[in-house]
């Protein structure tokens, strides 16, 4: 068996964002989740939301795994009846954001720092300003949202919450055209992709 060089690079664990397009169907979340839990793979972040197409939901699943494992997981997910398509991407392939909210006592903030400057420096904005507390919001990568926790901690950070990762695939032409293919009785090559053919053309040489 060949491609040992592939196996080496595929053996290093890294962050992968798995994007799944599914029918909006009760139970599909569970079917997808058990594909991970059965293999004892931790989901680091999970976002499920309606997509740009009615009745079709989009999952963003973040895990740290080797490419080989991720490829197998993707095939298992795509095998589910209600799953239309699965993509997996490294961080280089995507644009991603997380949303974070920070609740801080309003009096300390007013006393000790210039709110304006703080917000500007961290790309945050106030969502709610009340007498007792203020809620800031920021979006960004983990390191960025983490940094603001550090900044606000000395000012009595009361509560913090961060959303799951949402990601856009840089190199994607979207799902609208693909969907039309799916709806045909006999979908074409575009939908029934053979990743082998596209990626592993050179595997077999005579």
């Amino acid at each position: 068996m060949s491609n040992s060089q592939d196996i080496d690079s595929a053996n290093a664990k890294q962050e992968f964002t798995i994007t799944v397009y599914t029918e909006n169907q009760i139970g599909i979340l569970n079917r997808i989740a058990i594909i991970f839990s059965r293999r004892k793979i931790n989901i680091e972040s999970l976002n499920v939301s309606p997509s740009e197409i009615e009745h079709i939901h989009r999952f963003n699943i973040l895990i740290t795994e080797t490419e080989e494992v991720v490829r197998k997981l993707a095939r298992q997910i795509e095998k589910q009846v209600e799953v239309l398509k699965v993509y997996f991407n490294t961080n280089e392939d995507i644009i991603w954001q997380e949303l974070a909210l920070y609740k801080v006592p309003t009096d300390t903030i007013q006393e000790k720092v210039l709110v304006e400057r703080l917000l500007r420096e961290n790309g945050a904005r106030a969502v709610v300003i009340r007498k007792d507390y203020t809620v800031f919001e920021t979006t960004g990568h983990r390191t960025e949202t983490d940094k603001l926790i550090e900044v606000l901690q000395p000012y009595g950070l009361i509560e913090f919450v961060r959303s799951a990762r949402v990601a856009i695939i840089k190199d994607s032409t979207g799902f609208n055209s693909k969907l039309r293919e799916f709806e045909r009785l006999d979908p074409g090559h575009d939908v029934i992709e053979n990743e082998f053919l596209d990626k592993e053309k050179n595997v077999f040489t005579m």
């Binding site: 079917r31 209600e82 082998f196």
Partner: protein, 579 residues
């Protein structure tokens, strides 16, 4: 609800509607799908369906089993021998949970089943109502698809989808859970339309000619090509296409236990069984061949042994309908995605007609060693206790490879698979992937309904028989003609073998005592006989086979006999041991 509406159906002329209950719509749908036999067990939450079936006695044959697990195994036996979808009814709660073993077994062995479970009224869902269990979530990991129906309007589409999913692509079990209100609800029924397309489901990958060409080039260049075939061949009804491929290419072919019979056991290019207790030659040669052609098989660990030492020298061509199987265990150099019914003829066209006499002779040399050292003494012992091998051997002679052999799980299973002669596919029914003890007896009942014109022999151990022996009641009540052959070694033999080989003979809880099986059969009005002497074996087997109706034959076999060859756990297939 959404997805059900997305099922595409061929537009038909406006239909007459009539008011029927959900239960009636269900039965009409089953009939439209060609269902004749249902294996089931009633209960409160499925009573409306059972009430409806009272009026369908002419069209639907309902077999009342003695335990819901038995219903699933019977449906599996039916599906395997008939090639159709097995249908099961069970009530909610304990009835539904009793299906889990059979679902898991069907899932791993790709057996098409449609299970219908009753559920509590929709308004009681999630309230811990009497006999309410979360059947959908319990069965999600062991079904290809499942769905809960809470409104009768959904029943025809859900059922159509269930049948389509169960039987298409890589087959598997599906489950529909129907709340009691939906079973009773009257609705405007427009007739039944089979499902032919689900937009999110692609049962067959598109065949890429580039791959067929690459595979053919690789095969044509090979000096020592070797075929491994599994159940995919018979699931795709591709036996003829497969045989044509084997014969034109002249490549030796070996089978997994679920692939057995896709070409006859005695075919000159059939070189035997793969795996832990498979034949010597095919196991060793896996690590000698230059091109390995895997067809409709999934490289189960019982077949591959240690993966890091498996066929490292070979280029691998893998034909499979399920894309997720490619590269799952063994990396493929050329993946041929698709239904082998379609891919094999394309491949056959491109392979050159050849024979491989020297390569084949290597297999024959191993066969000779195995025959002399092991098979001969096992099949034709001159003295000592009866062996399982000789029982199967004599059974073969009497049934001429035409009988359906259903086996349970254990040593007798491996012996039945190793020595069972088959002239065709769908003649062997066994629990391959899950290895479910208790499978044999109920599966044999279903197998008989699936192949009514064949002799069905269930080969079962003394341990496994006691797991589902209540199904003798089903055999009795419905007059099912099943020949039950119990190979009694007074041990949980397979576990004992491992304890002997790997745990210094510490026989921990494998010594199992049994009731008088013949008397037990008698109490179910089933004829029976016990054999302890070699001299009585053939006559008793003949008596069993000639007996009109079911018969139980208990054969006392050697207590501490081991199944060999064996690839010990953690070893490579090349390290297979003859003793």
């Amino acid at each position: 609800m959404d997805t059900l509406q997305e099922v595409t159906t061929t537009p038909a002329a406006p239909k007459e509607t009539k008011q029927v209950t959900g239960s009636v719509a269900l039965l009409e749908g089953l009939i439209a799908e060609g269902t004749e036999t249902i294996f089931g067990y009633p209960g409160g939450a499925i009573m409306p369906i059972y009430d409806a079936i009272y009026d369908y006695k002419e069209k639907l044959n309902h077999i009342l089993v003695r335990h819901e697990q038995g219903a699933t195994h019977a449906a599996q036996g039916f599906a395997r021998t008939s090639g159709k979808v097995g249908v099961v009814f069970a009530t909610s709660g304990p009835g539904a949970t009793n299906l889990v073993t059979g679902l898991a077994d069907a899932q791993i062995d790709s057996t098409p089943l449609v299970c219908i479970t009753g559920q509590v009224f929709a308004h009681l869902l999630g309230t811990d109502a009497f006999q309410e269990t979360d059947v959908i979530n319990i069965t999600t990991p062991v079904t290809k698809w499942n769905y809960q129906v809470t409104d009768a309007n959904e029943i025809p589409a859900a059922l159509a989808k269930a049948f389509y999913i169960a039987r298409s692509g890589r087959p598997g079990p599906v489950l529909i859970d129907i709340t009691k209100n939906a079973q009773m609800q009257l609705f405007d029924y427009e007739g039944y339309t089979p499902c032919t397309h689900i937009r999110s489901y692609r049962p067959k990958p598109i065949i890429r000619n580039e791959y067929i060409e690459q595979a053919a080039a690789l095969i044509n260049s090979a000096k020592k090509p070797f075929i491994l075939f599994g159940q995919g061949v018979s699931l795709g009804n591709a036996e003829a296409e497969f045989q044509a491929f084997v014969e034109k290419s002249g490549i030796p072919a070996a089978w997994t236990i679920l692939g057995a019979g896709a070409i006859p056991t005695d075919h000159p290019l059939n070189v035997g069984m793969l795996g832990m207790h498979g034949n010597y030659g095919p196991n060793v040669q896996t690590n000698e061949c230059d091109v390995l052609i895997a067809i409709g098989m999934r490289f189960d660990d019982r077949v591959t042994g240690r993966l890091d030492k498996y066929a490292k020298q070979a280029k691998v061509v893998h034909l499979d309908i399920d894309p997720a199987e490619i590269d799952k265990n063994v990396k493929a150099d050329v993946p041929v995605w698709g239904d082998c019914k379609e891919t094999l003829p394309l491949l056959t066209k491109l392979v050159t007609e050849k024979t491989h006499p020297e390569w084949l002779a290597e297999f024959k040399a191993f066969e000779k060693i195995e025959k002399e050292d092991l098979i001969e003494p096992e099949l034709n012992p001159q003295s000592g206790e009866l062996t399982m091998g000789e029982v199967i051997h004599q059974l073969n002679i009497l049934t001429k490879g035409e009988a359906v052999i259903v086996s349970d799980v254990g040593q007798h299973q491996m012996v039945a698979c190793r020595y069972g002669k088959l002239n065709a596919s769908r003649l062997t029914v066994t629990s391959g992937g899950l290895g479910t003890m208790g499978f044999g007896l109920p599966a044999a009942i279903g197998a008989k309904f699936g192949a009514p014109n064949r002799t069905v022999v269930a080969v079962i151990g003394d341990g496994g028989f006691q797991m589902t022996l209540q199904e003798l009641g089903t055999i009795m009540q419905f007059g099912v003609d099943v020949k039950i052959l119990i190979l009694n070694n007074q041990f949980l033999g397979m576990v004992r073998q491992w304890q002997q080989l790997f745990n210094e003979k510490r026989y921990s809880f494998v010594d199992i005592t049994s009731p008088d099986f013949v008397k037990l059969a008698e109490s179910y009005y089933i004829a029976g006989k016990k054999v302890t002497e070699r001299a009585d074996l053939v006559g008793s087997l003949e008596q069993m086979l000639q007996h009109p109706g079911s018969f139980l034959l208990e054969v006392m076999v050697s207590k501490e006999h081991n199944v060999f060859p064996m690839v010990p756990q953690g070893c490579s297939v090349g390290e297979i041991r003859l003793k």
